[in-house]
């Protein structure tokens, strides 16, 4: 029963990782912008939700506030950080440093505004009860599964069926061709960042309830997103989601055979394994030799 419990814990953690990584993968897949500030978006979304919910605002409205903050920050980054850099020089390193600098700024702002303490959203949904002897599940386990499934479905329909979604997929392939079809690469890029930032919200809200938040969570989130994006296949949204689950389950199951402190490292061993033996990731494009 311990293995089943570890698997359930891993799925819960992994789905939160998946939700965290999905936004980053979408943005990188469509725009090729290495959006390190996705971690900052996540932190802002989480704090926006927590602070409004703690102030007595009903949780659906708090989620909406969180969504507005996340999308607003994403669009701000696009308009005032990425766009000017890409207009002038546009080197990968400049974009990376600028985005990383913004992560530090956001962390400091959160520390000033809300203090440096750990904060969490207390809910009965996170309290696990025994569903079978030795198997404890919390209602939020099912919520996380439902939310992830719904988001994957909606994002899949948007990217596969809508004109804007197809444009987003084309954006990473051939921006010049987009212009020939009368589409604006700039607008599509902003749409990708807005959508990717919105995808940070469910993960941030669920993490606020399950593990809690602190101002320095941004880099940690970014590390998970990056690992999931590489394992899943650079730029593949579905791959990132699958990799998030795989990372969570691996971290959880490994404690059944190894010392508990290897839990976190196991995910990164998996990452190195993929880099060495399957660099295209789970669902990525083959790497040309």
């Amino acid at each position: 029963m311990l293995l089943l419990q570890l698997l359930a814990s891993g799925i819960q953690t992994g789905l939160i990782y998946a939700l965290t990584a999905a936004g980053f993968a979408l943005i990188f897949g469509a725009t090729r912008i290495f959006h390190v500030a996705h971690g900052a978006t996540f932190a802002l979304a989480g704090y926006a939700f927590l602070e409004t919910a703690v102030a007595g605002v009903p949780w659906p409205l708090a989620c909406l506030v969180s969504l507005v903050v996340a999308v607003g920050f994403g669009l701000f980054m696009d308009a005032f950080v990425y766009r000017p850099i890409l207009r002038h020089e546009g080197s990968f390193f400049t974009v990376f440093v600028a985005a990383f600098g913004m992560v530090v700024v956001v962390q400091s702002v959160l520390e000033l505004a809300f203090g440096r303490s750990f904060v969490s959203y207390s809910s009965t949904l996170t309290r696990a009860t025994a569903v079978l002897p030795g198997l404890y599940l919390a209602p939020i386990f099912w919520v996380i599964i439902a939310v992830t499934a719904a988001i994957l479905l909606l994002t899949g329909v948007f990217l596969g069926r809508s004109r804007a979604g197809i444009g987003l997929r084309a954006l990473s392939e051939n921006p010049e061709l987009l212009r020939a079809f009368g589409l604006s690469a700039r607008r599509l890029s902003a749409l990708a960042i807005a959508l990717g930032s919105a995808l940070a919200v469910p993960g941030a809200v669920l993490m606020a309830a399950t593990s809690g938040l602190q101002p320095s969570i941004g880099p940690h989130v970014m590390l998970i997103s990056l690992a999931a994006s590489i394992v899943g296949g650079i730029g593949s949204l579905r791959g990132a989601v699958a990799a998030g689950v795989l990372l969570g389950v691996t971290e959880s199951l490994v404690v059944s055979i190894l010392d508990t402190q290897w839990s976190e490292s196991a995910g990164f061993v998996l990452l190195f394994g993929f880099i060495l033996f399957r660099p295209r990731g789970l669902l990525g494009q083959p790497v040309p030799r």
């Binding site: 814990s9 440096r116 904060v119 025994a130």
Partner: protein
């Protein structure tokens, strides 16, 4: 052959350096420099804020009382709560800021910084780290906080009285956590109990769902955890959320707002030094009164410790000034060992040969966001 221009440039640079050094020395001659080596960013930054607040109040009181002939300046370095940060920060405090007295926290940070401080004759006072090997770490390294061996020794009889026969230990894999595990492993059998299981975690770990499952599987009567910072709150929340209903026990690191304010921390048992804010001695009275007036809340033991650390500097430097002796590391150590007993917040504090303060430990239970003394 050295060119004339190169020679001129080198001379100008040397002159500038000499002038800068003299300017810096002149500045320092005007004040005592106290350095702080606290985590100011990252998951342990909450401690940095708390530690600094305690020190600042003591500085204000020293200035108000005109205890010293020269003003005291606080210079901060971010230790990031890591040994690397401790070594870098102490090097800068000693060599660039020329601090003569430093406030330090965290076991790993202290162990990395102590040789550097000792080499530079800088006094280091710890009010936050509790690893047992911090005792006698260096002649100029003192502790104004009881170390974890004292805290564990205090909780063992309580565990026995509660009938806890199987105790699981969750510990962070660093000098502090390993020391806690070692002591629990050695002491539990003598206490009529056994170690139900030991579970190590990385200092950066944030997910404890799987570990909760392993702890439940080990069927303990109580769970002792040794961690610090935001990780403590995450441990408490996730163990409770994942069905660990046994008594959770920890040490004084839990006396921070993020643990106190956590709903899941209700019932948490923790040891800490005695902090009686109702004491009537003038030092405690003034500290508590001013603290409540400034922050509209009660102070924590960490506030008390770093207040005491700075107050100790004030008293040592005052004695040395009166005796017309230099205020430096060696002189302060000699003065500490000569006087031994000082009027501090919480009553009279006495120091042993290793510079460790002696304070009794009490057992508390968290209830409704407040700590209740239970033993």
């Amino acid at each position: 052959m050295i060119q004339r221009r190169t020679l001129l440039a080198a001379s100008a640079a040397s002159a500038a350096l000499l002038l800068a050094d003299r300017f810096s020395a002149a500045q320092e001659a005007g004040s005592y420099i106290i350095g702080t080596l606290f985590p100011m960013a990252g998951p342990n930054a909450e401690y940095g804020t708390i530690f600094t607040a305690g020190a600042q109040m003591a500085l204000a009181h020293i200035a108000e009382d005109k205890m010293l002939r020269k003003p005291v300046e606080l210079r901060a370095e971010d230790s990031q709560g890591t040994p690397q940060g401790g070594a870098t920060g102490m090097t800068k405090l000693a060599n660039v800021d020329h601090a003569i007295y430093t406030l330090i926290g965290f076991t790993g940070v202290s162990k990395a910084a102590a040789p550097i401080g000792q080499r530079n004759k800088v006094v280091m006072v710890n009010g936050g780290g509790v690893g047992p090997d911090l005792s006698g770490l260096a002649p100029l390294f003192w502790n104004v906080i009881p170390l974890i061996d004292k805290e564990i020794a205090a909780i063992l009889p309580w565990l026995k009285a509660q009938g806890s026969k199987r105790v699981a230990v969750l510990y962070v894999d660093d000098p502090l956590g390993n020391a806690a595990l070692q002591q629990m492993t050695a002491a539990l059998p003598a206490n009529g109990a056994t170690l139900a299981g030991s579970f190590s975690i990385a200092p950066t770990a944030q997910q404890f769902g799987a570990i909760a499952a392993k702890i439940r599987d080990s069927s303990p009567d109580a769970v002792y955890f040794a961690s610090y910072g935001a990780q403590q709150a995450q441990i408490i929340k996730q163990l409770r959320d994942n069905g660990v209903t046994q008594t959770l026990i920890t040490y004084s690191a839990a006396t921070i707002p993020s643990v106190r304010d956590l709903a899941e921390a209700d019932g948490l048992v923790f040891t800490a030094q005695i902090s009686d804010w109702t004491l009537t001695d003038p030092v405690t009275q003034r500290f508590v009164k001013d603290w409540r007036a400034k922050y509209n809340a009660d102070p924590t033991t960490y506030h008390q410790n770093y207040y005491n650390a700075v107050r100790l500097f004030g008293m040592l430097a005052q004695s040395l000034e009166k005796a017309d002796k230099p205020v430096d590391g060696e002189a302060m150590r000699a003065e500490l060992l000569r006087v031994r007993r000082f009027a501090l917040v919480g009553g009279e504090g006495s120091f042993d040969d290793n510079g460790n303060i002696a304070i009794p430990i009490q057992i508390n239970r968290m209830k409704g966001g407040r700590a209740e003394k239970i033993g």
